[in-house]
Amino acid sequence: MTAIVVQDVFKVFGPGKSIDEAVQRARKGETLSDIAKATGCTVAVNNASFEIEGPQIFVIMGLSGSGKSTLLRCVNYLLEPTSGLVKLGDQDLGAMDTKSLRELRKEKTAMVFQHFGLLDNRDVLGNVGFGLELRGVSESERTKKVKEVLELVGLSEHANTRIDELSGGMQQRIGLARALATDADILLMDEAFSALDPLIRTEMQTEFLDLQKQMPKVVLFITHDLGEALRLGDRVAILKEGAIVQIDTPEQIVMNPQTEYVEAFVENVDRSRVLTAGAIAVEGDEVAVAPDLSVDDALNAMEDAGSSVLYLVEDGRVRGIVHRRDLDRAPSKDNGTLQAVAADAPEPVHANDHLLDVIPRVANHEIPLPVVDDERRFIGLLSKTRILQAIARIKRHD
């Protein structure tokens, strides 16, 4: 079942009588400033649609005022959309009354805030247990759960500390712990790391990614920082003036920006941190041959592919490589197979590795390195040239 469905959602702020008109105009594609002039309304979310299937980090990225917070609050109906559909699982939020919406927020969603939104009058225990308290969980059970979650965020020492005695990074861990304590499937995070200074922020991102690996959740993560979006997101939606202009994987966003707006955004990204080996690997079909190929056929294959090296692939696994120069030393030119002259293949590159991490190894090899997927199946080759092309934004085919 799809975890989150957001379909044709509009959210308009302004005088009640003009709101409908503003939506009509937005549908027709008028610019937001024209709409504001004509109706006095702010279209904060403009026809946004996306779906999140299951556990993953879905990032919504946009500049200040682009409607990120508003869109996020439509997802748990803290703000009711002016029109459009929001579904969490099989529940249509628009059809629910206030009471069941409250229940849904208690059970299904949890939220993390930019400035943490903690209750300063309570200690850490009281804050982390807040969601459970609202759910009516008994105090002893609450304490148990809170201790567990504090362990997870590395603050188990601080159960009885006052909030204002904690650093910003620690406070945000408490914010995160409060959200995790409810065991909600859906995490809504509004610029959760934006208030932290850069070092702590990177640290939190790393911890968060680890956590997500341990306990995958459906995360809707808001940020205005493209670097953060690309680092955390399994998918990234770019928001401009309330409208989603592109939804893609970080690599696709960087490699194939679909509008000039996105292109301008990704221009200065350090692509080697975003692109993975798998995303830019070139197909290796021409140079991937069976180990029992004859030497003659191998010579032909090399000529056809214009390559001085062949990769011996069997059952999808790379078994070895053969250099042109070694073919001459083959025992019998007529019926020998390649196995006899094969050398060990270089350690393959993992498809999920970022370029930044594989560049040193690719640079150290004469030949392109094989790229393998999670199951160590051969999926292509990565050459120095290819890396340079990718970083220099030269598209392969056009």
Binding site: L78, E103, N121, L188
Partner: protein, 273 residues
């Protein structure tokens, strides 16, 4: 000159109200009287030395040994001057008025914090109430409740209520928006939001308002001796009317000591260390 018998009309109006709203005033009067009797009974039950030690110990616990020591010496002096009974009477009036003012004032402040219309209506009234000289409150109190402790407390309630209303409204509006949103995001209902988020977070501000209300109550209760509320105010009044310097000084000093004791203790309650 034209004769404008405004007073006559007002008198007619008030008489009409006294006749037709008698049960209403009666209820207020009974309730207030009961509150005063209750506090007087408690404060006057123990012998003065016991009460004195208790208050000093309380002050010590809440506000540190300096304040505790001050209370001990100050109240001892009060007792020695023969002002103990009057001081306890005054304190009972202050406590009654404060309890009533806070019971009405906090909900009113909460209401004002939730509605701009209420807030905009209440604010000028509070401003007006605070600019009026304290004496003015004695007149309607006397008109509706005659003389004695009850009208004294009622005038005091009206005079002392503005700060707690104002500070409650101000405090709740000042609660961080994200904290409130966090409450909503985790499924809090309106009342849970109020009692688990808004009131606790604004408590320091509200208590500062309560402190101000208590101090205003004390000053008003002394003035209310003019309409027969008794207590220290009455001694002050006698001192003035009979030009008795000794009495005037002793009762005045007792008021000051009582003021400091109450102020320090309630401030400590508000969390200011």
């Amino acid at each position: 000159m034209i004769d404008i018998p405004l007073g006559k009309y007002v008198e007619i109006g008030i008489e009409w109200m006294n006749v037709h709203l008698a049960p209403f005033f009666e209820a207020i009067s009974t309730g207030t009287g009961a509150a005063i009797a209750f506090f007087e009974a408690i404060l006057q039950a123990p012998p003065s030395w016991m009460m004195l030690l208790f208050i000093a110990a309380l002050a010590w616990r809440l506000a540190g040994y300096r304040v505790g020591l001050f209370c001990l010496v100050g109240l001892f002096l009060v007792d020695g001057m023969g002002m103990w009974l009057q001081t306890m009477q005054t304190l009972a009036l202050v406590l009654s008025a404060t309890v009533i003012a806070v019971t009405i004032g906090i909900p009113l402040g909460v209401w004002a914090s939730r509605s701009d219309i209420v807030s905009r209506t209440v604010r000028p009234i509070l401003d007006f109430m605070q600019t009026m000289p304290a004496f003015v409150y004695l007149i309607p109190a006397v008109l509706f409740f005659r003389l004695g402790q009850v009208p004294g407390v009622i005038a005091t309630v009206i005079f002392a209520m503005p700060p707690v209303v104002r500070m409650t409204n101000f405090g709740i509006r000042g609660v961080s928006e994200e904290a409130v949103e966090a409450g909503r995001a985790f499924g809090a209902s309106a009342s849970e939001l109020l009692f688990k988020v808004q009131l606790p977070l604004s408590m320091p501000t509200i208590l500062a308002g309560v402190n101000q209300t208590i101090m205003l109550a004390l000053s008003m209760v002394v003035i209310a001796a003019m309409i027969g509320a008794g207590g220290l105010g009455q001694e002050v009044l006698r001192g003035i009317q009979q030009l008795r310097i000794d009495l005037g000084f002793e009762s005045g000093l007792a008021v000051v000591i009582l003021a400091i004791v109450i102020d320090r203790i309630t401030q400590a309650l508000g969390g200011g260390k």
